[in-house]
Symmetry: none
Subunit: 143 residues, 2 copies
DNA sequence: TATTTATCCCCCACTTTTCCCCACAATCTA
DNA sequence: TAGATTGTGGGGAAAAGTGGGGGATAAATA
């Protein structure tokens, strides 16, 4: 399970270090792709394949299914870590997530998310106030 | 069950001692994460895992689910006590809870909460007067 | 086809952070 | 009063993150 928040930097060669705590969970091969809030998702291969299976069960005759599948699959790249535990972010993804030098890597259970630091701060502060309301309505019963 | 209120200090390395009365309940491994009112939650692993299971049942295609999961999971860190019974508060959490030197650790049943002392005093005095109204709507029947 | 250019990846080195251990002071208990 | 427990402070080793050089491979151009 991925949890935690790490602040790393992208160097001039476009590399970013994956936090060492995540490396053993991710394994040697994994997948990165576009995420929904202009961030980048990082999935272990198994998890990614599972989601793909789900997406493929949607009919291509539905507009939303086509759009989301295109969004999700076209952004995906199979990744291997270099020996220092770093990855190269493909430039289309880097552009999509608006990555500058300072990034945030967060664990959200079954995946990692890579955010531009500024965007992440903005997201967090924007939902701090709502979080009480959001939590209020997530579950009806005691969890 | 966690009850009580303790006033401890964070040292220059960001460490805070867990009150010894809580240590045996927490066990050797537990989890700290962001709490809703700008405080830090401390959960025994079992309790945390239970909540995570509930969260993972929500689809990532729902916005509120993504937001809350991100909020809750990204703040989380698995903790082991050092030999002095202290924990390291990760700096993102420390910032979130606005922790300075003096902190309050309170038991609230199934979890602990770590507050900045000043924020805790403020919260307590701010809702003391409303408590009558708050209590009014909690239950419909005798408890 | 040959030469140049660019990209990727490995290696080495440095800095910073983290974690573990030891020590001391204050409080509590017998 | 002596000993044990609890909270606090700090030193040092190990690990993690960061930056840059250089060689191999692939792509581009003449």
């Amino acid at each position: 399970m991925f949890i935690g928040e790490f602040h790393h930097t992208i160097d001039d060669k476009g590399r970013i270090a994956i936090p060492s705590k995540y490396r053993e969970i991710l394994g040697k091969n994994f997948v990165i792709t576009r995420g929904i809030e202009h961030c980048i998702y990082v999935y272990p291969s198994d998890t990614f394949n599972h989601i793909v299976t789900k997406l493929e069960s949607l009919p291509f005759t539905k507009k939303d299914a086509r759009a989301f599948t295109r969004f999700f699959m076209s952004g995906a790249t199979a990744i291997e870590l270099d020996k220092q535990g770093r990855v190269n972010i493909p430039s289309p993804l880097s552009l999509y997530a608006n990555l500058s030098k300072k990034c945030v890597i967060v664990g959200t259970g079954d995946r990692l998310e890579i955010w531009d630091e500024e965007a992440f701060d903005e997201f967090m502060s924007s939902c701090n106030d709502e979080m009480s309301d959001i939590a209020e309505n997530l579950f009806e019963e005691k969890i």
